[in-house]
């Protein structure tokens, strides 16, 4: 890899990192401001965290509990980003 493309790669990471951080944060905030989101969500999340951590090493940001109001039914979505495989 040439020096120039090395720097280019570094920079690409910064916009990409920005996007990823925003997506997580905003999903989180939309939840928090959701007028009808059940108030057990924060507790549910922290209890889920402790169960998940028994089996997988994940950080707070890797677990996303999302509440969506639908027309017919409401959806509770649990998203866990698994750690990358070590090789």
């Amino acid at each position: 890899m040439g020096l120039l493309s090395y720097f280019k790669k570094q920079k690409q990471n910064s916009a990409l990192a920005a996007k990823e951080r925003l997506q997580i944060l905003i999903a989180h905030e939309r939840n928090a401001h959701h007028p009808h989101a059940p108030d057990y969500l924060p507790n549910l999340k922290s209890e889920l965290m402790s169960v998940i951590r028994k089996y997988i090493e994940v950080s707070e940001a890797d677990v996303n509990v999302q509440y969506e109001e639908g027309h017919q039914c409401d959806v509770l979505e649990l998203n866990i980003i698994l750690p990358e495989k070590q090789d």
């Binding site: 920079k11 910064s14 944060l25 905003i26 905030e29 939309r30 007028p35």
Partner: protein, 268 residues
């Protein structure tokens, strides 16, 4: 039919006033009777950007308090027929804006035949910003390609969907995203959020992107809204925004890196 349009953002300094000034001029130049109101009570700036600071006698708060009539307070723009500016008060604070007061001014403008009432919101999500958006039919949310600005825009979108009169009536405020200070070169380098990134996250239709341009500063220095500088890319991009706002289909411009020079090609 009159339309109330709020220019809002959450985060400060992203280009709301620049946008409000240019869009107001653009709409008037297209033959629409337009009023532009500065809601930034205590930090008025629209008058400066529009170059009418020496003609301010009465302001928005004077009208709300009945200390002046709307006619006395409106400043007629000399460059665009049918454009009037209502400056903010410099000495009061945002608490002087009451819902009833703002509503009465907007209603009077409507009855005077104004087709567009453009509201330049202050930064933040406090009283001033709330008053600027409350009566809106449409909103132009100004965002910079930068994390904190995008996050704040998302907050503001939430408020538009819940804290406006339209929302309270079960109706929706039509939302447009305007990305200001866009720099294709920096996006190309991977150093700036791209339009696609921002649209992905905020998920509202984009009315245009204004390139980062030195002519915006020059325009403010002179008190001539940048849309009147038809040689500048920012000015042309604002003209496109106005056309799109009026329902025309106009292709986006200035979103790609310009043709590279010899040296840049050598190192690419």
């Amino acid at each position: 039919m009159s339309k109330v349009v709020v220019i809002t953002s959450g985060k400060g300094g992203v280009g709301k006033t620049t946008t409000a000034a240019s869009i107001a001029i653009g709409l008037a130049k297209q033959g629409h009777k337009t009023a532009v109101i500065d809601f930034d009570v205590g930090l008025r700036n629209l008058d400066l950007i529009m170059g009418v600071e020496r003609r301010v006698v009465y302001d928005f708060v004077n009208v709300i308090n009945g200390e002046a009539t709307l006619k006395q307070a409106l400043i007629r723009d000399k460059r665009a027929d049918g454009l009037f500016i209502l400056p903010a008060s410099q000495t009061r604070d945002k608490e002087s804006l009451t819902k009833e007061g703002v509503e009465s001014v907007i209603e009077e403008l409507k009855s005077e035949g104004f087709e567009f009432i453009v509201c330049d919101s202050p930064a933040g999500i406090e009283k001033g910003a709330y008053m600027a958006m409350y009566f809106a039919d449409e909103a132009i949310v100004v965002t910079n390609p930068e994390v904190s600005s995008v996050r704040d825009s998302d907050r503001v979108l939430g408020l538009l969907q819940s804290k406006t009169r339209k929302a309270e009536q079960g109706d929706v405020v039509k939302e447009h995203l305007l990305i200001a200070r866009y720099s294709p070169v920096r996006v190309d380098e991977g150093d700036m959020l791209s339009l696609e990134d921002i649209l992905d996250i905020l998920a509202i239709p984009m009315i245009g992107a204004i390139p980062e341009s030195g002519s915006v500063l020059q325009a403010s220095n002179r008190g001539i809204p940048v849309i009147l500088d038809d040689k500048s890319q920012a000015g042309q991009a604002y003209s496109d925004v106005v056309a799109r706002f009026l329902g025309e289909t106009v292709p986006h411009r200035f979103l790609e890196v310009e043709k590279k020079g010899f040296l840049q090609r050598l190192f690419a």
